[in-house]
Amino acid sequence: MKPDKILLDHGSGGKMSHRLTASLLLPAFDNPALAMLDDGATLRVAGGRIAFSTDTYVVDPLFFPGGSIGDLAINGTVNDVAMCGAAPLYLSVGMVIEEGFPMADLERVVAEMGRAARLAGVTVVTGDTKVVPKGAADKIFINTAGIGVVDENVNVSGANARPGDMVILSGTMADHGMTILTQRQGLAFESDIKSDSAPLNHMVADILGTGCDIHVLRDPTRGGVGTTLNEIADKSKAGIRIYEDRLPVRPAVSGICEILGFDPLYVANEGKLLAFVPADQADHVLTVVQRSPYGKDACIIGEVTHDHPGRVFMRTRIGGERIVDMLAGEQLPRIC
């Protein structure tokens, strides 16, 4: 039965979000670029191809260990453009600010955006600011859109995974989502977990610079690695097998997930990528990622198979097998 109201589940990045996109948004705009549903759209223009992506940031709290809404807003869009195999160049910034929002907080958010842009090597070239009456927005909402150039030799897409590809994950899972959750709930943990918010465009440039055949690049944000792998399995009509004992998770994050009953596979990341690479080139790409500043914990977590196309399976630590399904609704409210 179709719901007649928007629910928080529609924003979780899981099945409800996908359903909304497929049933409402795709038909309304009806074009092949959008229908690919990659992290950004790759578009042919006079002179070559550009990648174009947008994202809106509504995270609460605004400031948290390891980051803020400001650097998320820059890094998130930089990363989505990079996941198209592009070098991100220019960003726009649109802000909707609630009346009464402290000026000092705005200064801090903007300063962090500036810093993040410089770190990523991108330029914010256009923007817009609106203020709405108190209660009409929750503190501040930020939209960023970004463009970058895609080299002619590059062809990355969620539909390109092939049996035999290895799945590389660039580092530990669930750092961002669990940081937000523990901050929001005011849960006091004696641990130093922090968001992994980071720009990945330099890592992507290094990966593409190897000249290897890169089939898929994706950053597992909302819905986590588990949901992203399902999206890729579905779009590529291929099966994916991952190995639980290879999944990198920080011990502190693992512990918090256990106590709170969260599965790290479905928790958001903001500074990690998945790369699908043919088996004979995977080790080379892995080495390059491990040398990159944000990739030292990178590892191969699984492979693409002929079996069970469209589904993701996991070999558990004790040698059993189980399905890894897509997240249905929200595990966390608003994370980016």
Binding site: R311, T316, I318, I323, G329
Partner: protein, 364 residues
């Protein structure tokens, strides 16, 4: 307290293989074991244990999901509370997606009701203190693992002299439900007893049940090695023809349980008959708030009248909760009922059997 490194041992593939081999070697007779606890169902799926057990062993899920066994009329009462003016409804996350007869707490929240999700009942007490002009009502769902903390929260509210805090108690207790299961439709050859409930009530709480029915019973923990150990012990009991009440979770469960927690629970709650979805009325299986704490009993504060409500048409939750059917045998499973559009609570709760099958079982 176990460190994370120690907990690695419970996922050790060597230990798991050793236990699986022991089970496979010993298991001759086809048996049906019921894991009573919803968290056991999920843990068994998540660890991949089902794929490792021999064909002789069928694992059935039981009614150990407190959200799933909450009767439809109580869900409707929760939803009605969300519509009360100047009222904050506070709940554990699981309840918000459960469909009532016409709505859900999640829908009410989208419609503007003040519904808050917490991890601890004490957060509800804090909300009451911080919002003196509102009535704060906590939805008390859970077994003996949870009831003591809810009781402690009521005591805290009493101590703080709060006049705007109350609890709807839909709490239930496990041992009497076992009686209903053992007398039920299907032949259960052994029970994997709940881990955390047993931490509170102690192994001895199951003795009356065991003495009456003489069916294999093992209390188990939640790590893969715990679960395999529990299943191995059940198999040994069946094959030897010597049923016993055994504890495979001694690092957390003792014979007497946690007397302090029990005392707090009994201070605030008293035993009453309770209606369980799927099992009907089970005597002495529910907890209601004692007269002395009537000021904190939402049933009295809000004058809650429970209106009998039929289970959703076609929903086999009742039979699934008693192990008579498995989710793929429900006519609505996947086709009509799924986590995004659930018909019954078993598909929605994080410990629900149908949700677990849907997420982890695939097309089998």
């Amino acid at each position: 307290m176990m460190t994370l490194k120690q907990s690695d041992a419970f996922h050790d593939p060597q230990i798991a293989r050793h236990l699986t081999e022991r089970i496979t070697r010993a298991s001759r007779r086809p048996v049906r074991f019921m894991e009573v606890c919803g968290t056991h169902t999920v843990s068994i799926f998540r660890s991949g244990i089902r794929s490792l057990l021999p064909e002789t062993i069928a694992l059935l899920s039981g009614p150990g999901c407190p959200v799933c066994v909450t009767a439809q009329k109580e869900i409707d009462a929760f939803i009605a509370l969300a519509r009360e003016p100047e009222t904050i409804v506070v709940t554990f996350g699981d309840l918000i997606r459960v469909p009532g007869s016409g709505s859900s707490l999640q829908r009410e929240k989208a419609d503007g009701a003040d519904v808050r999700i917490v991890y601890s009942t004490f957060d509800a007490v804090n909300l009451a203190r911080e919002n003196p002009d509102k009535r704060v009502v906590f939805l008390g769902v859970g077994f003996e693992t949870t009831a003591p903390t809810v009781a402690a929260a009521i005591l805290a509210a009493h101590q703080q002299k709060l006049d705007n805090f109350s609890v709807v108690s839909a709490h239930k207790t496990v041992p009497m439900a076992l009686e209903a299961l053992a007398d039920g439709e299907i032949n259960i050859n052994g029970f994997l007893l709940p881990g955390h409930v047993s931490v509170i009530i102690g192994l001895d709480a199951y003795r009356p049940f065991f003495e009456t029915h003489r069916v294999p019973c093992v209390v188990a923990g939640f790590e893969p090695a715990d679960l395999l150990q529990g299943i191995a012990m059940l198999v040994d009991q069946v094959e030897s023809g010597q049923p016993a009440l055994e504890n495979a979770y001694p690092r957390a469960v003792s014979a007497a349980g946690n007397p302090k927690a029990m005392a707090v629970m009994n201070e605030v709650f008293e035993i009453a008959d309770a209606d369980w979805r799927g099992l009907g009325t089970i005597p002495a299986s529910g907890l209601t708030i004692r007269e002395a704490y009537a000021a904190f009993d939402a049933v009295k504060v809000f004058d809650i009248q429970l209106k009998p409500a039929p289970e959703p048409k076609g929903c086999a939750c009742g039979q699934i909760l008693t192990g008579v059917k498995i989710p793929p045998q429900c006519p609505l499973y996947k086709t009509v009922c799924n986590p995004m559009a659930p018909v019954g609570p078993c598909m929605v709760s994080s410990e629900g059997t149908c949700a677990a099958y849907y997420r982890y079982h695939g097309d089998g």
